[in-house]
Symmetry: none
Subunit: 225 residues, 2 copies
Amino acid sequence: MKLLIVEDEKILSDSIVSYMRHENFTCETASGFSEAVEKIELFDYDCILLDINLQDGNGLDLLKEIKANNKMDGVLIISARNSLSDKITGLTLGADDYLPKPFHLSELSARVAAIIRRRNFGGSNILRFNELSIDLQAKAVFVNGKLVELTRKEYQLLLYFTYNKGRVVSKNAIAEHLWGDEMGGAANYDFIYTHIKNLRRKLMDSGSEDYIQSVYGMGYKFTAS
Amino acid sequence: MKLLIVEDEKILSDSIVSYMRHENFTCETASGFSEAVEKIELFDYDCILLDINLQDGNGLDLLKEIKANNKMDGVLIISARNSLSDKITGLTLGADDYLPKPFHLSELSARVAAIIRRRNFGGSNILRFNELSIDLQAKAVFVNGKLVELTRKEYQLLLYFTYNKGRVVSKNAIAEHLWGDEMGGAANYDFIYTHIKNLRRKLMDSGSEDYIQSVYGMGYKFTAS
DNA sequence: CCGAATCTGAAGAAATACTGAAGTTGTTCA
DNA sequence: TGAACAACTTCAGTATTTCTTCAGATTCGG
């Protein structure tokens, strides 16, 4: 899952990134209004953590812009202001949740997870696809009720497939989602081949069909239902 | 058996009521501090499910008031907050148990049932997991009835695991729960490794299975039942 | 049939986890 | 108060697991 943290207090931004990386989110940052606009136009994020008190503009305007651009990213507003009007305005403009400073990082994490769950998976903690089921809370994957032990990357990969079910996802998109900035537009995709191979093998060894369909020259399509 | 659910998130409150009714509890709700005080003064409840993060006041104050009024109601604290101090304060003030959000309704139900059983049959506050038992009042841990001497951190760690039974807890979350904000997103987790090692050793030396499962790259999962 | 894309197993590199011991802090009790 | 002890944290070295790279095999579309 990929996040954009829009926050100009470097210390806070860094600690959010550090925490969320450990929670296995892919994180990118923007320290200002303009940088955020740029990144949001270029990339897809599962959730944008938006501090509405930026130096170089009003975060609510940015929010307006995100929503006007028909971007489907989730948005969590972070604010030092406790004013009810900001909260209401934010939620009216389409933010998914609101978190006043100061906050516990674990609460931030829980809320972000909730937003993503709500937007991508209908709010459910357990996803089912044919003989496959995924418990988001326990971070566990089952085939016919039997636990399959996946590594971090394999789990992230599977999750990315599930919410792009039926769509072809390019290797570029996968790289961007699982690795962020530094790997997007990589020269080769050997590491993706390897992870896909391992994921396929683990699932099929446990008795699952192969729902990861290769689409020559395009990418992969997850075909379970 | 009659419950009072003090919770201002209507969706959560409704789903608790719906679930608990099926478990044959009589349910009433209060969406705020003042409403709760009123109801508690007027009626007797077997157990009060108290969210300590209310809009209109601190839930811990309400708890203090319940206990000061010599009400004998059992109290289960529900909290999104993760600060250890809240937990400790809550239990010190006389709460019977503590359940962090998010939780499974089945777990809530089990804990409520346990509180009621305990209070009605004069038992002490004891959690049981296979050959492990934890006396919350005495803050003592037993393996097959034999006392295991744990340090404070080890005890807190074990307790935190039991609260999150079956879920993967990240080292971040552990750090934040046991040490508070300042450790969130810490650079290294050496101290967690050490405490986990010591806790594991003490429990296993006493004849317990190792219920603390390491999940590479994600954290730990407590697997007893 | 050719070149490009994809797949595979194996090996090296990197990240994560564990351990014992040493250093530091805090508590207890004379 | 301060010596003795317990608890906590840090550190350095080791073990384990995962990630990435690579070379060769296979498949695919034209």
